[in-house]
Structures are given as structure tokens and as C-alpha cells.
């Protein structure tokens, strides 16, 4: 099923195909193979990101569903397990994000998917978990200086707490230092705008793409 394991070009294609085809049994071997052939960690991470773009497209086109997103995410986890020791030696993250489900809400599937896509796109993600009070977001932003803050909530009764987090950030003067994205079944684009977030009302994949675009735009601006 997989092409010549001795070739560098094929090795990356193999990693890509294993993720896209949800081959949980082979991904670790193929990822290790790429490392052993001396392929740079950045190239492997880029390949993982490309693979997740294909998975994301298949999801949007109705070929893949939540179960497939989760399995693809598991493939990425397996791959990153192999890459983990190398991550420590080189800084390959394109940006940093702090993500959590807001206070009063215990749902985490959407948040976990968003994190999976962010990680696959090369973000370092600090996962604050669920039921996160505004103060914890504030402390995490002070501690980790992220580029992006992601907030998730499922319930109409809890999405209002996203506004509380933004208010808390404004009060301590941190709001303008981060981009804020909000998500969850009850979150619409209008709601995101209304509470002062930079984006929202999109699914996990689209949300991660927006975050990537923000980083790319910032890098472009820094280049001038």
C-alpha cells in the first residue's frame, strides 16, 4: 500500500496518505521512517498540516464525519509522539494558542477538535480544559503570552460567559495583545462580533484556518 520506504519524497507522501486514509496502524512506523531518513521536522510537520487540510476538506464536502476527524486527529497524535523528542531541540511552532471551554460548560468535543487542527497546523496549544473561569484565561495569557485565545461553549446559557472573558481581558489591558476566536453550536458570526471577538461562528477546521491566516498576516506585516 505504501511506496518505497527508502525514498525521502515517498516517505512524506506515505505519512500524508496514512493520515488521509486514517491508517492508525501504520502512521507511527511511517513517521519514524521519515525521521530516520533524515527528513527535517519542519517538513514532516508541514506534511501533517497538508494531510489535515485534505481531511478537513473531506469533512466539509461530506465524505468524512466527526468519527473520521477524530481518527485523523489520533493519527496526528501518533505522529507527534514520534516527533516529540525532536520538538524539544527545535522551535517549529508557527504560533501559540490558549484554548478552553468557558465557565459553566463541560463540553469538550468541539474544543478538542479545534486544538487538534491547530496542532496539526503547527501551533503550540495550551489546553485549559473545560469550565474555565475568566480569571484563569487572564492568568494563562499572562503566563504564556499566546497569539490567539480560543473559547468554546455548547449551551446558549453559557456562551454569554465568553463576553465575561473578553471583559476581564479588557480590564487588565490584555485584550489587544491577542486575537480571540469563539466557537460552539450556539455561537454565530453575529454573536462573535457582538461580544467583541475577532472571529467565530465557524467550525473547528475553519476556525483553525482563520488562526493560521492571522499568524501569516502578522508575519507579512512584520516583514515590512
Amino acid at each position: 500500500m505504501y511506496m518505497d520506504l527508502g525514498s525521502k519524497i515517498n516517505a512524506l507522501d506515505n505519512v500524508l496518505n496514512a493520515i488521509v486514509n486514517l491508517d492508525l496502524d501504520s502512521i507511527s512506523i511511517l513517521c519514524r521512517n521519515a525521521v530516520e531518513l533524515g527528513i527535517g521536522i519542519q517538513d514532516i510537520v508541514n506534511t501533517v498540516a497538508r494531510a489535515m487540510e485534505v481531511v478537513g476538506r473531506k469533512y466539509e464536502e461530506g465524505e468524512y464525519f466527526l468519527s473520521e476527524l477524530i481518527v485523523a486527529g489520533e493519527c496526528v497524535k501518533e505522529c507527534f509522539k514520534v516527533l516529540d523528542p525532536l520538538f524539544r531541540e527545535s522551535s517549529v511552532f508557527i504560533g501559540r494558542a490558549v484554548v478552553g471551554t468557558v465557565e459553566g460548560d463541560l463540553h469538550d468535543i468541539g474544543k478538542n477538535l479545534f486544538i487538534m487542527f491547530l496542532r496539526s497546523m503547527g501551533f503550540e496549544v495550551i489546553d485549559l480544559g473545560v469550565d474555565v473561569p475568566p480569571q484563569k484565561f487572564v492568568e494563562a495569557i499572562k503566563q504564556y503570552s499566546p497569539d490567539i485565545v480560543g473559547m468554546s461553549a455548547l449551551l446558549t446559557t453559557t456562551i454569554v460567559n465568553m463576553k465575561e472573558v473578553i471583559k476581564a481581558l479588557e480590564e487588565v489591558g490584555l485584550r489587544d495583545r491577542v486575537k480571540i476566536i469563539v466557537g460552539g453550536a450556539a455561537v454565530t458570526k453575529e454573536f462573535a462580533k457582538e461580544i467583541g471577538a475577532d472571529a467565530g461562528g465557524v467550525d473547528a477546521y475553519e476556525g483553525a484556518l482563520i488562526c493560521k491566516k492571522w499568524i501569516e498576516e502578522r508575519k507579512l506585516l512584520e516583514g515590512f
Partner: protein, 365 residues
């Protein structure tokens, strides 16, 4: 035409004429009931069932189901491990530990699921044994007698092939297991099928049941949690083992309770003989499209957009008007499309119930 509740229920789902369609509602969140107590609902009216009785509704909470235990049995007691502010940590008695909010109704967040591997499953499998005493009450003969000449519908709960396992394993674990340990998933689903079919064979001999009820909750806003391909390959044939027995005993209304966007699952359910979709969350499901696509093969229950009840009288009027052609066509029992959320005022709800009663009397097949 003067029909009793049972006749009304059956004839509605047979697309035959009725004096009116049964007046059912799904139920209410605890926070909704708390709010309504502050807005005029008598304090002694405490549960969804109480509200149905108080407002003169006929179901769903107060619909009768055979008093048998299809599911984990015996039900181990849960133990509170720790309470801190608004959070409570609970051992579920099956090996799982979850955290829940004390003040609000929300899905418990498992920090350790009861089934994490095959050994956990081996430990839990005996709880699905159909032979365990107590699944069928000792006074079964009295129950059979009670249901012999009745004027109201009786249902039988027939479990869940995905929803139960998802609750025991978590959506991530079950999704991965479908790809990595399919034989295990199949064994667990077969165990459930064996439990349900064994009990059905016994009880349906004695009682003529009007409907069966699956619970799955396997979809969300974007679509199914499990891909339709896996659903159709691994679940549909197993549903059929259950529905074959139901059909043999004349149970032709088979409901599946599944929130979210179910469009991609409906063909599989219909193929499996599961023909009544509930609760048709209006944000994600268009009942007219289902009827157009599947004709009278599909029965419908629910579909009243809860957001109309949040908005107020004008929106409620428009929502009932939207559903009038469907109501008049038959094969449809309207209810709010989920439990009524606390954003709905008691006043709006009373308006809805009053209008709905008149609407049901005026428009029917």
C-alpha cells in the same frame, strides 16, 4: 369522530383521519421549571411529568412504557466523591468518574470513562445479561392483564446501539475503536442486540405493544458523530435483528430519539425498520424535506422550533402555521424540538400550549 388516545396515536401514524393529533411535549430542563416557578407555575408542579398532567398534555414523559429493564442491570448506585463550589465529582458505580455542575443541567464530563479497554468491557458485560433476575417484574401477569384492554398507547424501550457505548467510552474512544478494534465494537453491539431481542421475545408474546423507542443521540449540528458508511455497515444489520421481532409482533412504529442533524442517518434507519424520527431539531432538520424525500415511509415527531417560544406570540403563531400542512398530512405528532430551555418564559409557554390546543383541534388528517 370520537377516538381514544390509543386510536388517535395509531391512526395519526397510519395517515388516517383523526379527531385531533395527540398533544405531546418533549419535556423541560430543571432550570426552566425553576424559572417558571418564579413566573407562576405552582410550586408543587415539579417534574416534566407533573407539568404534562397540569397542562393537560398526553405525553411524552407520561406515555406508558413496559416496566422492564432493558439496559445496564442492576443499576449500580453512584457515589458522590467530592463537592467543591458548584462542582461535584461522582463515581458512577460502573468504574467511571465524572464531574457535573450542581446548579445546571449539563452533560456530565467524564474524567475516567467506565470502558477504556477490553478488560473494562469484560467487567461490565454481565450487566447486559438478559437472564439477570429483575429485568421483567415478578408481577408480570398483572401487568399483562392491565394492558389487555387499554385505551392508551404503550411502548417498549429497545435500547441503543451507539449511544450507550458512546456514553460508556466517550466519543473519541468509540470513534477510534471503530477503526482500530472493530471486532470489539461488534461484540459489544451484539451483546446489546442479544439483550434486547431476548427480552422482546418474552414480553411481546404477552403484550400487544404500539410503538418501540430507541435512544441514540448520535448527531450534532454538522451531522452524525459516526460516518453513515460505518453506521450502515455495522449498525443497520443489527437494528434489523431487533426490528424483525418488533414487526413480527405488529409493532410498526419504531421511534429513534436523536438530536442534531440526522439527515445522513435517516436512509439507514428506514432501511433498518426504524421509521419515526424524533425530535427533529428545527435548526438542523427540515421535516418537509424528509417527507418529500422518503414519503410516508418516514414518521415524524417533534419539529416545533424552540426559538419561536423564546421569541414570543408572533413567532409561535408563525411556527405553528409553518407546520400546519405537515400536521394535516398525517404521520406527524408535533412537539417542541427539544426539552424546553430556560430562555422560554412561562407566559410564552402558556401562550404556545393554548394556541397549540386550538391548532390541533382545527388542523388534523
Amino acid at each position: 369522530m370520537d377516538l381514544n388516545h390509543r386510536e388517535r396515536f395509531l391512526r395519526t401514524f397510519e395517515f388516517r383521519s383523526v379527531d385531533r393529533v395527540p398533544n405531546y411535549e418533549f419535556g423541560y430542563w430543571n432550570e426552566t421549571i425553576d424559572r417558571w416557578h418564579r413566573e407562576g407555575l405552582p410550586i408543587e408542579v415539579k417534574t416534566s411529568n407533573d407539568i404534562e398532567q397540569y397542562l393537560g398534555l398526553e405525553g411524552i414523559e407520561s406515555l406508558e412504557f413496559l416496566p422492564i429493564a432493558i439496559g445496564i442491570w442492576p443499576n449500580p448506585p453512584s457515589i458522590s466523591l467530592k463537592k467543591e463550589n458548584d462542582r461535584e465529582m461522582v463515581a458512577d458505580g460502573l468504574g467511571g468518574i465524572f464531574v457535573k455542575k450542581v446548579s445546571t443541567s449539563t452533560i456530565p464530563q467524564y474524567i475516567r470513562y467506565p470502558i477504556r479497554n477490553r478488560d473494562d468491557w469484560k467487567r461490565l458485560k454481565p450487566f447486559f445479561n438478559p437472564e439477570t433476575p429483575g429485568r421483567i417484574p415478578l408481577n408480570w401477569n398483572d401487568i399483562v392483564e392491565k394492558y389487555r384492554d387499554r385505551n392508551y398507547p404503550v411502548g417498549v424501550f429497545v435500547g441503543s446501539l451507539y449511544g450507550w457505548l458512546r456514553n460508556l467510552m466517550g466519543v473519541e474512544k468509540i470513534s477510534i475503536a471503530f477503526y482500530r478494534e472493530l471486532d470489539w465494537i461488534e461484540e459489544m453491539m451484539d451483546t446489546i442486540v442479544n439483550l434486547v431481542t431476548t427480552i422482546l421475545r418474552i414480553v411481546l408474546r404477552d403484550v400487544k405493544v404500539d410503538f418501540a423507542w430507541f435512544w441514540e443521540d448520535m448527531a450534532y449540528s454538522k451531522g452524525p458523530l459516526l460516518s453513515p458508511k460505518l453506521f450502515e455497515k455495522h449498525m443497520v444489520p443489527r437494528y434489523k435483528k431487533i426490528t424483525e421481532i418488533l414487526h413480527e409482533h405488529g409493532v410498526n412504529i419504531v421511534v429513534v430519539d436523536c438530536d442534531g442533524n440526522i439527515d445522513a442517518l435517516v436512509p439507514g434507519w428506514l432501511d433498518a425498520g426504524v421509521n419515526c424520527m424524533f425530535p427533529l431539531e428545527a435548526r438542523y432538520v427540515d421535516p418537509y424535506k424528509l417527507r418529500e424525500r422518503f414519503g410516508r415511509r418516514v414518521l415524524l415527531m417533534g419539529g416545533v422550533d424552540k426559538r419561536a417560544l423564546i421569541s414570543g406570540p408572533e413567532a409561535i403563531d408563525r411556527e405553528l402555521e409553518r407546520l400546519t400542512p405537515l400536521l394535516e398530512e398525517g404521520g406527524y405528532i408535533p412537539t417542541v424540538d427539544h426539552r424546553v430551555p430556560p430562555d422560554v418564559s412561562y407566559q410564552n409557554y402558556l401562550y404556545y400550549i393554548k394556541k397549540k390546543k386550538l391548532w390541533l383541534e382545527k388542523h388534523h388528517p
